[in-house]
């Protein structure tokens, strides 16, 4: 069963901007799905259409088999949305915001109170429940939007940049929370510009650029497609010219470190053997960029297609 199935989705805004140029996406139930793409790619537009916040220009959307045009109410009941922009009533209290949202989904007040306590505690907002939302910090507002999205226990949770502007500690605890939510059976779609976040959380990834899907595969396959990884080595003794290593591309950086591109077919052992043969001592090693980031940059910035194995 697909949690979400999109066919030929198009959106032309009244000002003429063609934000989506016919996208197809399928998200399996239970998946943890990353929707990536540069600013203005069309991610928020696609999410807005899925959640009925934006009228589509063409195409179809099915949520757990409920077509948005035919069974809107049933489709809406399945989705929880954490939007990109803060859309809280800042004058309302934290508690009332989640209780009211429960009411809009038909959950009676008694049950709503039980759930509100559960989710506000989990998102560490329980102590602030009586305060108006405007008293919360930016990160707390994002957590409140997550609690609000979960109050009706949706089968599909969509988060549009939930960790933007959230500090590292809270971000990590949010990751844990989302992992647990996903393991408990909720399908999650996440957009983010922190690619390591997508890499560590998501099983599937789709990359959108200029309103088109340019990549859509299992995260592990996508990462495997990356045939080359670039490492940065700090050397014990500074070199004046880049080392010549048979079969490896090397570059000497201004700061004295050496960048070495390693093909996925070759072992790092080979590299280290060559280095020690030449008496070059390595004091530390790191990735130049996160792997998904390398792919992303290649796909989006260089518009260079990466020829790759079939997706499964």
């Amino acid at each position: 069963m697909h949690a979400l199935s999109i066919r030929n989705l198009r959106k032309i805004y009244p000002n003429g901007v063609e934000a989506l140029k016919g996208i197809d996406l399928d998200v399996e139930a239970g998946d943890f799905y990353a929707l990536l793409g540069p600013n203005g790619a069309g991610k928020t537009t696609a999410i807005g259409i899925i959640c009925s916040l934006i009228n589509k220009s063409a195409g179809s959307v099915d949520v757990f088999g409920h077509n948005l045009d035919k069974e809107l109410e049933a489709a809406k009941a399945c989705i929880g949305l954490v939007p990109q922009e803060i859309n809280l009533n800042l004058f309302d209290t934290v508690q009332n915001i989640v209780l009211n949202q429960a009411g809009y989904y038909g959950i009676n007040r008694r049950e709503a109170r039980i759930r509100a306590e559960k989710y506000l505690r989990e998102l560490r907002l329980w102590e602030r429940r009586k305060e108006p939302a405007r008293n919360l910090s930016g990160g707390m507002k994002r957590r409140l939007m997550i609690a609000r999205a979960l109050i009706h226990e949706p089968r599909l949770l969509i988060l549009d940049e939930p960790t933007a502007g959230v500090d590292i500690e809270i971000r990590r605890s949010m990751w844990e929370f989302l992992k647990e939510t996903n393991e408990a059976g909720t399908t999650i779609i996440l957009t983010t510009h922190y690619l390591e976040e997508a890499e560590s959380l998501c099983r599937h990834v789709a990359i959108i650029d200029e309103g088109k899907v340019i990549e859509n595969a299992l995260m592990s396959n996508v990462l495997r497609k990356l045939q080359r990884e670039t490492f940065v080595l700090s050397l014990r003794d500074r070199l004046t010219t880049p080392p010549v290593l048979d079969g490896f591309e090397t570059m000497l950086r201004d700061d004295g470190d050496v960048e070495i591109a390693v093909d996925s077919k070759r072992d790092l052992n080979e590299l280290f053997a060559l280095l020690s043969n030449q008496g070059i001592a390595v004091s530390s090693l790191r990735n130049k960029a996160n792997r998904l980031e390398e792919l992303f940059i290649r796909l989006v910035e260089n518009k260079q297609s990466v020829q790759l194995p079939e997706k499964d």
Binding site: L53, L88, G106, N108
Partner: protein, 257 residues
């Protein structure tokens, strides 16, 4: 439509709107009470004594139903237009739009909020009126039904205004340029029989005239128009404005485009 879900959704909206009215009572309840007290003092008490009687009543008594109606109309309208436009402006309207609650429920919930504030303020103005004059309700059913229906009409009108409004200015244009003049010319302060025949005819095109007169009939038992017409016209407005609201919501006008 899932009735159980929508019933809980409706109750939630009503509770939310009520809390909003109470939370900002300094903006919602106090100003109309002060304005109306001033009307009673100046028009009723000071000037009214010179005017003498109208349709056989003290001027104070004569204008009291109109002033109550006027406060119900402006507050019902004002509540819905600012609450719904505020929700658009602050984007928390999205909380309702993403939910499975039907558009009918969203409209009815806001209308109920407008009616609650209208009647709250209306009751307060009635209390103020009773401090200046005595009012004996001649036809209780007409009184209650007309005030309720009128409140619904202007709550719906406020809703439609909010749907089209793009900035805060847009929610004060209609009250200033349409609502206030129509109310003042709607026979709150005078019987249209005082006007030249031509202006009497023109006045009959003003829907507020029917509301004010029917309400005055309910309380005092006198009216410039036939009560049946008033019900017909108010009923038409309720149906027309509700239909329009629903059509706009279903299209997503001002919200989903």
């Amino acid at each position: 439509m899932n009735l159980a879900l929508n019933w809980i959704g409706f109750q939630t909206l009503v509770r939310k709107e009520f809390i909003r009215v109470i939370r900002i009572w300094v903006q919602t309840i106090v100003p109309p009470a002060i304005t109306m007290t001033l009307y009673f003092i100046i028009f009723g008490n000071l000037i009214g004594r010179r005017i003498g009687s109208m349709d056989g009543f003290d001027y104070m008594q004569y204008i009291a139903p109109g002033l109550i109606m006027m406060s119900v109309i402006t507050n019902s309208y004002g509540n819905v237009v600012s609450s719904f436009f505020g929700a658009k402006f602050g984007r928390h309207i999205e909380e309702m739009i993403v939910s499975p609650m039907s558009n009918v429920t969203i409209i009815l919930g806001h209308v109920a909020g407008g009616v609650i504030r209208g009647l709250l303020v209306g009751s307060l103005v009635t209390v103020v009126a009773l401090a200046f004059t005595s009012l004996k309700v001649e036809h209780p059913f007409v009184t209650i039904s007309i005030i309720l229906l009128s409140s619904v009409v202007f709550s719906l009108a406020g809703f439609i205004n909010a749907v089209f409004a793009k900035k805060f200015d847009d929610i004060s244009i209609v009250p200033t340029f349409v609502l206030t003049p129509l109310t003042y010319l709607g026979g709150v302060f005078y019987s249209i029989s005082l006007l030249p025949v031509f202006w009497q005819k023109v006045s009959l095109a003003n829907p507020i005239l029917y509301m004010v007169n029917a309400f005055r009939y309910g309380i005092l038992g006198v009216s410039d128009i036939r009560i049946g017409y008033a019900y017909a016209i108010i009923g038409l407005f309720v149906a027309g404005l509700f239909g329009l609201s629903l059509m706009l919501m279903n299209r997503g006008t001002g919200i989903r485009e």
